[in-house]
C-alpha cells in the first residue's frame, strides 16, 4: 500500500473516532483491517493526528497479539490452541495447512500471501477445532475444510466470498433456565424498574438534584438497587463480588466536575474453556444491554462500554445493529423510556488478543487506549475507573441476570439456587463428552450431574473455571458448583481416562506464560521459568529437584504477583501434581538433577537446515516428544 493510501485510511478511521487518543486500540485495529498490518507510515500519521508520542502508539501496538507492526500476510490464520483444540487434532490440521500452502508455522509465506500460527483458546471449544482468519472465527475444522481453505487462500479469494457456512458458529444450548429461556421483550425490565419507583421520589438518578437533596433513597434508582441487593446476585466473572455492593459504592462515589459514571460490560471471556458469554451475546444481546441500562439507571451512569474480545469480532456488526435498534426504541439515548434525565448509551470496544485485559483494571486501561496492564489498587474502579471516573465493571452474565432481577424482583431471584449462591449459572461444557455446549443450572448442581447430562463417561478429571480454576478428580465429583464450594466463571473442561493430565497442565502453563502482561517481575519471569520446567519434564529430563522448584515458584507467584493472573498461574500444575501424580512420575526418568540442556534437541536446527533426520543425525536418546 502506498503511503498516501495508508494516510487516507488512517485519516478516515481517526476522524470517525473523533481524533480521540483514548480510542487508540480501536484505531490501530481498524487501520489493520484495511491495511493488513500497521505500517510505520500509519504510525507516523497517527502520531501527527492524535498528537501522541510514537512510543505510546508502538507500546500499545506491541502489547496486543492481534496487532501487527510487521507484515503478516494478506491472510492471517491463527489456529486455536486450547487443550480441547489439541484433543480434537488441531496440530495435524495446522501441519496440513502449512504443507498445503508451503509456509512454515509462525512465518509469513514468501509471497506475503499468508501466515499461519497459533493463538490461545478462541472460545469455540464445543465446536472445535477452531481458527481465526483475519480475526474471523471458523469452527469445526476438518481435513477437508483445511484443504478447501488452502485452495481459497491460494486463489486469493476475498474472505467475504468464502462459503458462509464456514463462519457459522453454533449456540449449542443444551439446558436453558431463567436466562437462556427468558421470555423477555426489550424494554420490559426498564419499565418494571421504573414502575417500582415510589411516586414521590425522583425517577432518574441522572436528574441534577438527586444526590444533593434526597437523603432517604432516590425513588426509582434506589428501588432498583434494593432489588439487586435483595436478589443476592454475585458477579459471574469469577471473583463473585456482590453486585449490589459494587453498584452502591459506585453510586455513592463523588463525581468531580465534568465527570460521569460509567458502566462497563466485561465480554473479554479469555479463560480457556469458557464460551458462555459468546452465546449470551449472540442469543440474547438485548437482555445483556438491558442489564447494562438497568445498572446505569441504578447508579446514575451516562456512558457504557462493552469490551468485546477480539476473537468475537464476528459478533460486532450484529451487536451494533441491536444497539442501533435500541436507540430507535428509546431504550438507549436521551430520556430513556420517557424518564427525564435518564440518559445512557453504549459503545463497543473490541480487544486484540490479550487475556489479561479481562482483569477489570487492565480492561479499563485498554478501554482508554493503553497497554492492558493491571493498575495499582486502591483506588478501585468504582471510584476511579475509566478516565478516573466512577466505573462498574461486570461480566456479561451478571448484566443478563440483573435485567431479569429488574423485571421479576430480587425475591424471585434469591429463591433460585442455594443460600450463598442465588440464581443460575451458565456453564460452558467441552472436552470428552457426547454433548458439549451450554448448560444453565440453578447453583448447587453437582459435577456428577453435569457429567451425566452432557454424556461424559470414563471421566478422569474436570477442569472447572479454566486454568485459573481447579482441577477436580473422580473422588470429588459430588462437589457442587456454587460460591460455597466450587465457584466458577463457567468453564467445565472434561478429560477422560485416556488423557495425559501432565500435558493438560503443560498446555495451561504455556497459556499463562504467553498471556502474562510482563508488568511485574514474579509473573513475567516466573511464568517463563515454570514453562521451562514443564517443558523439561516433557522432554524427559525432570527430577524431584524440579518438583521442588515448581513448588517454590508457585509460592512466589502467589505471594508477590501484582494481579490474579500471576496468583493463579501455578494452579493447574499444583492441582495435577497433587491429584495425578503418576502422570508426573512417568516423566521422572532421573532421580538426580539433570540439566535442561539437551544436545540432541539443540541439533534440531542443524538437522532442519541439512534436511537430514535419519538415525545417524541424532545423538542417542531414549525419550523425547514434540513441543
Amino acid at each position: 500500500m502506498h503511503a498516501e493510501a495508508v494516510a487516507g485510511v488512517v485519516d478516515r478511521v481517526i476522524n470517525r473516532y473523533r481524533r480521540d487518543p483514548t480510542c487508540m486500540l480501536q484505531i490501530l485495529r481498524e487501520v489493520q483491517e484495511a491495511c493488513d498490518w500497521v505500517p510505520p507510515e500509519a504510525i507516523d500519521r497517527m502520531q501527527a493526528m492524535l498528537g501522541v508520542p510514537r512510543t505510546k502508539i508502538e507500546g500499545v501496538a506491541g502489547f496486543y497479539s492481534f496487532i501487527y507492526t510487521e507484515p503478516r500476510g494478506k491472510y492471517r490464520v491463527l489456529f486455536s490452541d486450547n487443550i480441547t483444540d489439541r484433543m480434537q487434532g488441531n496440530r495435524a490440521l495446522m501441519e496440513r495447512l502449512c504443507n498445503n500452502l508451503w509456509v512454515e508455522r509462525g512465518k509469513v509465506s514468501e509471497d506475503g500471501l499468508v501466515s499461519v500460527g497459533k493463538t490461545a483458546c478462541t472460545g469455540l471449544c464445543d465446536q472445535g477445532p477452531g481458527m481465526l482468519v483475519n480475526n474471523y472465527a471458523i469452527a469445526g475444522l476438518s481435513l477437508e475444510r483445511i484443504d478447501e481453505i488452502a485452495e481459497l487462500i491460494r486463489n486469493k479469494v476475498p474472505l467475504a466470498d468464502w462459503p458462509p457456512a464456514y463462519f457459522k458458529i453454533e449456540d449449542n444450548i443444551r439446558r436453558a433456565d431463567i436466562l437462556l429461556n427468558a421470555d423477555f421483550k426489550p424494554g420490559e425490565a426498564l419499565l418494571a424498574a421504573r414502575a417500582r419507583a415510589p411516586s414521590d421520589g425522583l425517577n432518574s438518578s441522572n436528574m441534577r438534584s438527586w444526590r444533593e437533596g434526597l437523603p432517604s433513597g432516590i425513588g426509582g434508582p434506589g428501588a432498583t438497587l434494593d432489588e439487586i441487593k435483595r436478589s443476592g446476585l454475585r458477579g459471574r466473572g469469577g471473583a463473585g463480588f456482590t453486585t449490589g455492593l459494587k453498584w452502591e459504592a459506585c453510586r455513592n462515589a463523588q463525581l468531580k466536575a465534568g465527570h460521569q459514571r460509567v458502566v462497563v460490560c466485561n465480554a473479554d471471556e479469555g479463560e480457556p474453556g469458557t464460551f458462555k458469554d459468546r452465546v449470551l451475546l449472540s442469543k440474547c444481546p438485548d437482555l445483556v444491554f438491558e442489564g447494562m441500562t438497568v445498572a446505569a439507571y441504578a447508579i446514575g451512569a451516562t456512558r457504557g462500554f462493552v469490551y468485546l474480545r477480539g476473537e468475537y469480532r464476528y459478533l460486532l456488526d450484529h451487536l451494533n445493529a441491536v444497539l442501533a435498534n435500541r436507540r430507535r426504541q428509546n431504550l438507549l439515548g436521551k430520556d430513556i423510556c420517557g424518564l427525564p434525565g435518564a440518559d445512557f448509551d453504549i459503545e463497543i470496544h473490541v480487544g486484540a488478543g490479550a487475556y489479561v485485559c479481562g482483569e477489570e483494571s487492565a480492561l479499563i486501561e485498554s478501554l482508554e487506549g493503553k497497554r492492558g496492564t493491571p493498575r495499582n489498587r486502591p483506588p478501585f474502579p468504582v471510584t476511579n475507573g475509566y478516565l478516573d471516573q466512577p466505573t462498574i465493571v461486570n461480566n456479561v452474565e451478571t448484566f443478563a441476570a440483573a435485567a431479569m432481577i429488574a423485571l421479576k424482583g430480587g425475591e424471585w431471584y434469591a429463591g433460585i439456587g442455594t443460600k450463598q449462591s442465588a440464581g443460575t449459572k451458565i456453564i460452558s461444557v467441552s472436552g470428552d463428552c457426547e454433548r458439549p455446549g451450554i448448560y444453565e443450572y440453578p447453583f448447587g448442581v453437582s459435577i456428577r450431574q453435569v457429567l451425566e447430562d452432557c454424556g461424559a463417561t470414563d471421566t478422569q478429571a474436570v477442569q472447572v473455571s479454566g486454568p485459573s480454576g481447579i482441577c477436580v478428580a473422580e473422588d470429588e465429583f459430588d462437589r457442587i458448583i456454587g460460591f460455597e464450594d466450587i465457584p466458577t466463571a463457567g468453564a467445565f473442561t472434561i478429560f477422560n481416562k485416556s488423557r495425559d493430565m501432565f500435558e493438560v497442565a503443560r498446555n495451561y502453563v504455556h497459556f499463562f506464560q504467553h498471556e502474562s502482561c510482563g508488568f511485574c517481575t514474579p509473573c513475567r519471569v516466573g511464568t517463563s521459568l515454570l514453562k521451562n520446567l514443564m517443558d523439561k519434564l516433557h522432554y524427559g529430563s525432570g527430577s524431584p529437584y524440579d518438583f521442588a522448584e515448581i513448588e517454590k515458584l508457585n509460592q512466589l507467584l502467589q505471594s508477590m504477583s501484582h494481579c490474579g493472573l500471576g496468583h493463579t498461574a501455578c494452579n493447574p500444575v499444583l492441582d495435577t501434581i497433587a491429584k495425578f501424580r503418576p502422570a508426573y512420575d512417568r516423566r521422572m526418568m532421573q532421580q538426580d538433577f539433570t540439566p535442561a540442556f539437551d544436545l540432541d534437541r539443540e541439533l534440531s536446527a542443524a538437522r532442519q537446515m541439512t534436511g537430514r533426520d535419519d538415525a545417524g543425525a541424532h545423538l542417542a536418546t531414549e525419550h523425547g516428544g514434540q513441543s
Binding site: 510505520p40 508520542p53 507500546g59 506491541g62 495499582n376 517481575t521 514474579p522 508477590m560 535442561a596
Partner: protein, 235 residues
C-alpha cells in the same frame, strides 16, 4: 495528621498520603526496591519492596500507610522471596557484572549483595538485545534493562519528552525509544535530561567516562545499599 504503624516491631510515624516505603525511609528504615524512586510516582512493578501487611503480601511502594498496620519486612521468608526476584531479574537479562561499567554503582548488583544472593540459581535466558550506540553522548545497553520504567517516568513527567516507552508483552516486554528508526540518536534526548540519570542499572550510560572512578571506590563499594541515604546516584 500524623499517625503510626509498626514495622518489624518498630513504631514508624507517617502523615496521610504517605506510602509504607516513604514512611519507612523517612524513619531511616531501608526496604529493598528497584522501580521506586522518591522523586517519581510509584510504579509497583519490580515487587522487591514487598512486605507483609497484617499478614498479607503487598508492595510497600504503592501501599498507603494506615494507622495501626503491622508490617513485616526484614524476615527470612520475605528476604528469600526478594532474593528469588533478584535472581529472576539476573537471568532474564544479560548481566555480566565484572565487565559492566556500572558495577559498584548499580542498584541491582547492590541489592543482590544486600540480600545475600550467591548465584543466579535459575537457568539464564540469554536474550538477544542489541546495543544502541547511535547517540553521540549516551549508550543504551538494553541487555541490563529490568523494565523498572524509571526512565519512562522521568522522560515523560520531568523532561516532558517521552523519549522512552515499553512495548511488547510478557517476557518479550522491552524498552523502546521515540523514533521511527528506533535509534536514540533520532530523538531529542540529551545528557541534561532527568531520564539520563535515573537508570538503576547499566542501560543508560554516559559515553567515554565508564571507569573514571575505579571499581572498588564506587558508591556501593563504600557502603551497602541499605546505608546509602537515597537512590539518586549518578556516577
Amino acid at each position: 495528621m500524623s499517625h503510626t504503624f509498626t514495622l518489624d516491631g518498630k513504631v514508624v510515624p507517617f502523615v496521610d498520603g504517605q506510602t509504607i516505603i516513604q514512611a519507612a525511609s523517612a524513619a531511616g528504615v531501608f526496604i529493598p526496591h528497584l522501580c521506586y524512586h522518591p522523586e517519581f510516582k510509584p510504579h509497583g512493578s519490580c515487587k522487591l519492596c514487598t512486605v507483609k501487611v497484617n499478614g498479607r503480601h503487598t508492595a510497600s511502594c504503592t501501599m498507603r500507610a494506615a494507622p495501626g498496620m503491622v508490617v513485616e519486612s526484614e524476615t527470612e521468608e520475605i528476604n528469600a522471596e526478594r532474593r528469588a526476584l533478584t535472581q529472576m531479574l539476573f537471568v532474564e537479562g544479560n548481566h555480566f557484572c565484572p565487565s559492566c561499567e556500572k558495577s559498584g554503582n548499580c542498584q541491582l548488583q547492590a541489592t543482590a549483595y544486600h540480600l545475600g544472593m550467591m548465584s543466579a540459581h535459575y537457568d539464564h535466558f540469554f536474550p538477544n538485545r542489541p546495543v544502541d550506540a547511535s547517540h553521540p553522548e549516551v549508550l543504551l545497553d538494553f541487555n541490563r534493562c529490568i523494565l523498572c520504567s524509571l526512565c519512562v517516568r522521568a522522560s515523560r513527567d520531568v523532561d516532558g519528552k517521552n523519549v522512552f516507552g515499553l512495548s511488547g508483552r510478557g517476557i518479550k516486554t522491552h524498552l523502546i525509544v521515540n523514533a521511527k528508526s528506533g535509534q536514540l540518536a533520532d530523538t531529542d534526548f540529551t545528557l541534561a535530561d532527568k531520564a539520563a540519570q535515573v537508570c538503576p542499572v547499566g542501560v543508560i550510560l554516559k559515553k567515554r567516562q565508564g571507569f573514571a572512578v575505579p571499581i572498588g571506590e564506587r558508591k556501593y563499594d563504600k557502603a551497602p545499599i541499605s546505608e546509602t541515604a537515597e537512590t539518586t546516584e549518578g556516577h
